[in-house]
Amino acid sequence: MLNNVEFAKKIGLLLKLSDELHLFYYESYKRFSMIPKMLCGGDSLNIFISNPKKGLKYLKERSIPFVNFCDAKRKQQTDDWKVAYGKLKRFLDLFDEVEQVIDYNVDIVFENNVMLSYFN
């Protein structure tokens, strides 16, 4: 059973990983000028703070294209498929772990820990 603080830290890490996935998408196409100001992790951070369930749902929807992109790379066995697979696996594992224990109270300590671990 995860502690509330630990759970918050996990969420922060999850958001971080989703950001990495998002960035990897642009990196592979070398479209650096297209990178938005808010990546998907930072975008869903606000929702996560207020309601983790909704936040997780939002993150799932938001990260579908990048997950599919990485998955396609793995299937096609391109040059950088190992990198993509590694990032994808880390993200998905953590996502499952968080999804299982999503029923947690949201308080100020939780918020702090999410944000601190995200920007770390």
Partner: protein
């Protein structure tokens, strides 16, 4: 005369000297309101008497009697009623109290446990008791003014005291002054030491001088050989294992420190004709107290008293006066660069109209340092010397002619130092200060920004008031100095008891000041950057020194949670500034870290939450910039501050952010906020 007496009594009371002759000249107690004091107020107060009565001779039951003393305000003259409340029922007691609702009632119901402790002490109660026993008064006895006049026996101290007080105030009676002469009790635990050192000799001397001048009391010590015993509030703490030797040569005691063979303290036996008369027990007691004194570096003259514990044998009282050979303050005075002399020079430099001979003043200071207070009414200046209760160094206070109420008010502050500092207000802008500079005008007229100069002036005024200058307006010059924190710290330097106190002061005043300065530096306040106002930046250096003396070293606090929190806020400021610069914005808003740093001192969790919520945009932008840079070049050169911030966050992972902070934590936060570069 009344004022003088009032000042003295107030002074004595504030310092904690066992005396209380409160003269409520203007304020009479309203009927029914707080007629009874709380238990906390029962303090062991007045102890001036000539003939000490052996307390052990008094029975237990007599203690319980006569302890009910109160003063009736309906009558014009003070009446002290002494009854035995134990003989009454509760209702009768209540009635007894309520019958004089306008008066101040002071009572102390003694428990049986406390009786034994009380026996060790001489207090006013034993005076009364002895007086009653000697006069064979076993019934409740009322001392009225008429009775006082008709008293035949005048050898007792109580009669003398009361008659003298009565005579004193009967003259003032026309101007409706009245005297609530009250006596209260406190039972401190002196059982360990058994001896009561007096560390407020200077005040005592002032009082005795003042009283001698007016022929109120003849408190001569040396000539007549009578005992003058005053009990202070000694700070009894654990006695150290090291203590100096005590040797007796004739009528003199000499105290030797262990390491040095030269006598560092002289001790004179005033009372006893021969040193041989002192028994071994009392010698041991004196050595004990000497040990205590020597360890705590007391300066001044001390009166000691020793009674036989057994109570069977009546032992002569020993009164010993310890005279330090050389005090630190005298050394300081001899050095012209010292803080004291500077204080004097500054004080007299501020009043150009008065021609004051400095040498004369310095003589006075030296006299005062030796223990004799120069308390002058006729001249334009007063000089007081206070000694902080406990292990504090004595303090000189110079004042010009001050209204009495201010003197009384400030005497408490002087004596108590920092403890009774009330809250101060910051005024926005000094409209009177008309400077030629246009910027300055705008600056002073701006209502939103805190006027740091005024802020400092407020504090400095208080500071100076504490240090000595009262009633003198601080000059409005460009050479206005900020708080001389070094000087203040010097006062506390070396006394580890006061380190915590200093930290409190720092946490209370200077941290906010420091943070304000840092905020101004962050916001690039050009006006602030001009001039010599960087003197205030000495504060962190002094703070770090303070921490060093407290045993908190840089290596330890560098990675403490509070220090990291402070640095987090500083980095948040810098990250925001970097992002704003990158977006080519010339006008900065108020930076986030500087906005929430004050809340951090009060509620860290909330402050961190606010900071992170409001800086999500900036932080994420900086983060994406760094990620982008790393993806393209494989290096991260821009937004270095974000890197520092993330590092501090990584260190903060190990800590839980506390809900409340202690003083040292606040100091560390300020240090972290200042020193994070």
């Amino acid at each position: 005369m009344l004022n003088e007496f009032m000042a003295i009594s107030k002074e004595m009371r504030s310092i904690g000297l066992g005396s209380d002759l409160l003269l409520h000249s203007m304020i009479q107690p309203s009927p029914g309101s707080n007629s009874l004091l709380k238990k906390e107020d029962y303090r062991f107060k007045i102890l001036l008497y000539k003939n000490r009565v052996d307390v052990s001779q008094i029975d237990h039951d007599t203690w319980s009697k006569y302890m009910y003393i109160y003063q009736d305000s309906k009558n014009q003259f003070p009446i002290i009623k002494i009854t035995n409340p134990y003989e009454m029922n509760e209702n009768q007691q209540k009635k007894f109290i309520d019958s004089d609702s306008g008066g101040l009632c002071f009572s102390k119901m003694l428990d049986k446990k406390n009786k034994e402790i009380l026996r060790k002490f001489s207090s006013v109660a034993d005076l009364f008791c002895s007086f009653l026993i000697r006069n064979k008064k076993t019934e409740p006895f009322f001392i009225t003014t008429e009775r006082l006049n008709n008293l035949k026996e005048k050898d007792g101290f109580l009669e003398d005291l009361l008659t003298k007080i009565y005579c004193l105030f009967s003259k003032e009676h026309k101007s409706k002054f009245w005297l609530p002469f009250y006596i209260t009790f406190d039972i401190p635990d002196y059982s360990e030491l058994g001896v009561y050192p007096l560390n407020h000799s200077s005040t005592f001397e002032a009082i005795s001088d003042a009283l001698n001048k007016k022929d109120l009391l003849n408190l001569s010590t040396n000539k007549t050989g009578t005992n003058v015993d005053i009990f202070g509030n000694p700070c009894i703490e654990s006695v150290a294992h090291k203590f100096p030797k005590l040797s007796v040569k004739g009528n003199k005691f000499f105290l030797y420190s262990r390491n040095q063979q030269t006598p560092c303290y002289k001790a004179y036996n005033v009372n006893a004709q021969n040193a041989c008369m002192i028994s071994e027990e009392s010698k041991q007691m004196i050595t004990k107290t000497a040990k205590f004194l020597f360890q705590n570096k007391f300066e001044g003259i001390y009166w000691f008293i020793h009674t036989n514990k057994s109570g069977k044998k009546q032992e002569k009282i020993v009164t010993v006066v310890f005279v330090p050979v050389e005090t630190e303050l005298q050394k300081k005075l001899s050095d012209s660069k010292s803080f004291l002399c500077r204080g004097i020079a500054k004080k007299y430099g501020e009043s150009p109209n008065k021609e004051i001979n400095v040498s004369q003043e310095s003589k006075d200071v030296i006299l005062a340092l030796k223990g004799s207070i120069a308390y002058k009414e006729n001249k334009n200046s007063y000089i007081f010397s206070f000694s902080i209760p406990g292990n504090g160094p004595s303090r000189m206070v110079y004042t010009s002619v001050v209204p009495m109420h201010e003197l009384v008010e400030s005497s408490e502050r002087w004596s108590l130092g920092w403890e009774n500092y009330d809250s101060f207000f910051i005024k926005n802008g000094d409209k009177k200060d008309k400077s030629k500079d246009v910027k300055n005008k705008e600056y002073y007229n701006s209502s939103k920004s805190i006027d740091i100069e005024n802020f400092c002036r407020v504090i400095n005024k208080r500071w100076n008031r504490r240090a000595g200058v009262v009633g003198n307006k601080i000059e409005k010059d460009n050479t206005f100095d900020f708080i001389h924190i070094e000087d203040v710290f010097n006062i506390f330097r070396g006394n580890k008891q006061y380190l915590n106190k200093t930290s409190e002061i720092l946490a209370y005043n200077h941290i906010y000041l420091l943070i304000d300065v840092v905020n101004r530096l962050h916001n690039k306040d050009s006006l602030f950057l001009n001039g010599t106002r960087f003197d205030i930046l000495k504060i962190p250096i002094v703070i770090s020194e303070l921490l060093y003396q407290m045993g908190i070293y840089k290596e330890s606090y560098n990675e403490s949670a509070s220090y990291l929190l402070g640095s987090l806020f500083a980095f948040a400021n810098k990250v925001q500034k970097d992002v704003l610069v990158a977006n080519e914005k010339t006008k900065f808003p108020r930076l986030i870290g500087s906005e929430y740093i004050y809340t951090l001192l009060e509620n860290p969790v909330k402050a961190v939450n606010l900071l992170m919520r409001h800086s999500i945009v900036y932080l994420s932008e900086a983060k994406i910039c760094r990620m982008k840079e790393y993806a393209t070049n494989g290096k991260c050169e821009t937004h270095y501050n974000y890197f520092c911030l993330s590092k501090t966050l990584e260190k903060l992972k190990n800590f839980d952010i506390p809900n409340k902070l202690e003083n040292i934590d606040k100091i560390l936060i300020a240090l972290g906020y200042f020193l994070s570069k």
